[in-house]
């Protein structure tokens, strides 16, 4: 790590020991106007979304679309297969009756909603992404265990090298380090 020239700088990484300090610091980074930055925590921290100013995700709307697709597809499939393409007359029952198609319709609605939730969530998060500059930092390995981090990217319009570093240090971080791209 940290062997290449500074033009390959990804950004600065600040480490915090306490979750509360991270939340306070995040609110200050947000208020300073940074846009290309993030917090990294081993578990979801309540209140951090608010401190970072993260807007609600559109994931639920995508799930709704997935669910409606499952619902429609299930109804159409059962009607087409049993009443249209190869009509089954069984015990004089209607070829297509709503009560009989409810279970499969319910299951496919749930199935499509769940698959949409899963794939849309990872898709919106742009994961899987097995390589990321932050993984160059040895310190960052504890982000999934017991330390809390703020990263500000060099691409941020407000990023000013050394001054950003001082800004982060002034937020009460235990350590601030550059991360190579």
């Amino acid at each position: 790590m940290a062997t290449r020239a500074t033009h390959g700088l990804y950004g600065y990484l600040a480490e915090f020991r306490e979750p509360w300090d991270l939340i306070d610091a995040a609110a200050k980074v947000r208020d300073a106007g940074y846009t290309r930055w993030d917090c990294h925590t081993p578990f979801p921290l309540h209140g951090l979304d608010h401190a970072m100013g993260i807007r609600g995700t559109r994931l639920p709307w995508l799930v709704l679309c997935g669910g409606l697709t499952g619902l429609t597809a299930a109804l159409l499939m059962q009607w087409w297969m049993n009443a249209h393409d190869y009509p089954y007359l069984i015990s004089g029952k209607p070829l297509f009756g709503l009560p009989a198609v409810v279970p499969v319709t319910f299951e496919l609605t749930v199935l499509l909603s769940a698959l949409t939730t899963f794939f849309a969530m990872w898709g919106l998060n742009l994961l899987p992404q097995h390589h990321h500059p932050l993984f160059n930092s040895e310190r960052f390995r504890r982000a999934t265990s017991d330390r809390f981090f703020i990263s500000i990217e060099a691409r941020d319009p407000l990023f000013q090298g050394e001054r950003t570093r001082e800004f982060l240090a002034g937020l009460g971080a235990d350590a601030v380090e550059p991360v190579e791209d």
Binding site: H40, P42, D85, E107, H132
Partner: protein, 481 residues
């Protein structure tokens, strides 16, 4: 670590309303919790007992596959099926295993929506068990069709007769219900595990481990922008899985309830099956978890309080099941249908009375001991009673499936069903498969949901500064403080 283990015996089951419930004892902080849970997976070489258990389980599992091979080669005649009992242990085992698979999703979905924080210590284990139980369950309907090479006719795929499956058949609903349940449970389990897999990746010292865990961790880096969507997705999955978990055993019960066999044709079946499924699922979670917390020193993470709470759920659902047994008899009498009345008299006093009374003693009587706190908080007593519940719930399915079929309307067509050794070895083998998967899971995957447990852990040194825990479950917004 040694000092933590000595504090494992702390009793957190006292009900002191002036203090918040301690969910994690033993003085764990984030660092030591990560070390403890990851340490089990990272330890070089498994304990000898693990190898012995794996050897035994996998031998049984191989026996099952051999029996399945024998079955496919010879046909279902190798089972004890006869006329009139065309559904024997195959269906009993299917319903038994699907039922066991209910606890995991109940814990992960319904208890999540109900904000039951204690679920965090046990949900990973219970979800894993769910998936393994559903795998065991799925084998039986797959092989009981006889001609297994046409089992794909169950799916809506075009076949050479240009026919489609009959969507008015509950057996087909079952395919969709169990298939959806298995898929959603797997998505739920895996989604919950990604942050913990990332922890293992970041701690990995060998290249193999780094690549293996790294691949499945998807490059997770704890980003809060990711956590935001992740938590929303988790909530949505919980909301979807909640009606799903209640629907699966309802649909399984339709297989019976929509038929006209006396003893099957009852409207009580869906809720009764669901209560029984939760009952048996929790019993199996306890059966696996009590030894696991002992062997792996997890007693301050899966505490006595957790066991006691599960015991209360077993008591509640066991009582519901007992109530359902009584209701069945009442309706048979009150409904005035002679065939139905005979079916229930025959259940309790006919040739299979032994099976019926094993069921009643295990399912209705034994969990009533959980009214006593001493028994609820004794792991040994819990384990013994839970094994009884497992036995009782298997017999419940036997009672419903076999007794009802063996004597229906026409006395000249009555029969008595006896399983063959092939039946028995196949069933024993399904336990082998289940425990093989459980053992592999305990060895290679984090059996405690670390990221979730950390949200319910107030760390000691914060209490001086802020008098509330940091987790996500507490409903207060620190941004407002």
């Amino acid at each position: 670590m040694g000092t933590l283990l000595t504090r494992d015996t702390i009793d957190n089951t006292a009900h002191d309303p002036t203090r918040p419930q301690e969910l994690i004892t033993g003085g764990y902080d984030f660092t030591s919790l990560t070390d403890k849970v990851c340490g089990i997976v990272e330890r070089r070489g498994a304990p000898r007992a693990w190898w012995v258990a794996l050897g035994f389980s996998s031998t049984l599992a191989v026996t099952m596959f051999a029996m399945i091979g024998y079955l496919i080669f010879n046909g279902v005649g190798v089972w004890g099926l006869n006329n009139p009992v065309g559904w024997g242990w195959d269906i009993v085992n299917f319903v038994f295993w699907v039922g066991i698979g209910h606890a995991g999703t109940l814990i992960s979905a319904i208890l999540y929506l109900l904000r039951q924080q204690w679920r965090t210590s046990i949900n990973r284990f219970a979800e894993a068990m769910t998936i393994f139980a559903v795998i065991c369950a799925a084998i039986f309907p797959g092989i009981h069709v006889g001609r297994v090479w046409v089992v794909w006719w169950l799916f809506p795929l075009p076949n050479y007769q240009a026919m489609w499956p009959n969507f008015r058949s509950p057996l087909l609903w079952d395919v969709f219900a169990v298939g959806t349940y298995a898929t959603v449970s797997l998505l739920f389990w895996y989604t919950g595990m990604v942050p913990d897999l990332a922890t293992l990746r970041d701690r990995a010292v060998t290249r193999t481990r780094k690549i293996a865990y790294g691949f499945f961790a998807l490059g997770w880096r704890g980003s809060n922008r990711h956590w935001h969507r992740y938590e929303k997705a988790y909530l949505i999955l919980a909301g979807l899985a909640t009606p799903l978990v209640l629907s699966v055993h309802s649909v399984v019960s339709f297989d019976f309830a929509t038929s006209q066999v006396p003893g099957w044709h009852t409207t009580i079946f869906p809720p009764y099956f669901v209560a029984g499924a939760i009952f048996s699922g929790f019993a199996m979670v306890m059966t696996c978890l009590i030894p696991a917390r002992e062997w792996y020193g997890l007693k301050s993470i899966v505490t006595l309080y957790h066991l006691e709470t599960m015991a209360k759920i077993i008591l509640a659902t066991g009582t519901m099941v007992g109530y359902a047994y009584a209701t069945e008899f009442f309706i048979a009498w009150y409904g005035g249908n002679p065939a139905e009345q005979f079916a229930f008299i025959n259940r309790a006093f006919g040739p299979y009375a032994w099976a019926y009374w094993i069921m009643v003693s295990c399912n209705v009587i034994s969990p009533q001991l959980f009214w006593f706190k001493k028994i609820r908080t004794s792991p040994v007593a819990l384990l013994i009673i839970c094994i009884f519940v497992n036995i009782g719930m298997w017999f419940e399915r036997f009672v419903i499936t076999v007794i009802s079929l063996s004597r229906d309307y026409l006395p000249s067509a009555w029969g008595y069903y006896r399983p063959t050794p092939v039946d028995m070895l196949t069933f024993a083998g399904s336990f082998g498969l289940f425990f093989t998967l459980v053992l592999l899971f305990m060895r290679y995957l984090p059996m405690i949901a670390m990221a979730e447990v950390k949200t319910v852990m107030p760390q000691k040194h914060w209490e001086s500064k802020v008098s509330r825990p940091v987790g996500d479950y507490h409903g207060t917004n620190p941004g407002d403080r």
